[in-house]
Symmetry: C2
Subunit: 144 residues, 2 copies
DNA sequence: CTTGCAACCGTACCATGGTACGGCCCCTAG
DNA sequence: CTAGGGGCCGTACCATGGTACGGTTGCAAG
């Protein structure tokens, strides 16, 4: 029987590639996040005599992983995300709000910049469309 | 007399640091753009016997530099910007429009993503503000 | 003409966020 | 029992967009 990626018959939890699949990332990315301290490295089973077993991951890990991806989409760096994850278990609501609001401000600024850029691009496309000959004045599209 | 940065009495053009100042970037960044082919390296004066003079830059260079910064703000990579600059002198309006419109699409998608993220952050800040005790459920802010 | 700042040049290094490689170990199907 | 695919690990490498360093000229004021 061909085992599907990371799917084990036993409900013992996901392997690393199962976790990766669940989060839509590569195995190496998981390991990278572990090195960065964003994801835990579960204990390897049976002893530790220079050869443990295979680590298993659960729903909690999947949630953390998904959170990481979402927070990244919100523009947080991995360092900031590490802080958020640490905060999640703790009591420092003040700090959490601070991070959130700083990021909201940055996002607003970024959206504004993108809208400016969008306008400039529309002008550029327009200028290139409106005349038929001669060079297209791309350089001036972003003037003003 | 103390020469101001890059300002020469003669109207012979800007030095590299004058150009950098005009574009709001560092000298090393100018040199980097030159290596990347985004800015020209003007001929050095008197001969070339293993020791030219000092390069001079003009208004055209300043415009290109400002364009580069604006285009970067619009999310173009330096590679794409190089293409735009090449296009500017040429006739390929089709290609120019194509680049512009592709970028506009990407910008729209990015804005949408940022707005989603902004919402999530607002929820997170709200959740952290609305209760006084227990851990703040940051992980769930990005759910859904 | 000395002194000293700038320009010039090649090359090395940085941060970010991964991605790849090679060697070894474990585990299970066939 | 053996082969093969994954897991595990350290370490190297990649792209992007710069930033820094060290040594050599240029050049202009004092």
């Amino acid at each position: 029987m061909v085992r599907l990626q990371g799917v084990t018959p036993m409900a013992a939890g996901l392997t690393i590639s199962g976790l990766a699949g669940a989060g839509g990332v590569g195995v190496e990315t998981i390991r990278y996040y572990q090195r960065r301290g964003l994801l835990a490295e579960p204990r390897r089973p049976h002893g530790s005599g220079m050869a443990g077993g295979i680590r298993r991951y659960g729903a909690e890990d999947v949630r953390r992983l998904r959170f990481i991806r979402s927070a990244q989409a919100a523009g947080f760096t991995l360092g900031e995300i590490a802080e958020l994850l640490a905060l999640d278990a703790g009591q420092d609501r003040q700090r959490a709000r601070e991070l959130a609001e700083t990021r909201i401000g940055a996002i607003d600024a970024e959206i504004a910049k993108l809208q400016q850029a969008r306008e400039a691009l529309r002008r550029m496309a327009g200028a290139c469309a409106s005349t038929q000959d001669g060079p297209c004045p791309i350089l001036t599209a972003f003037d003003g």
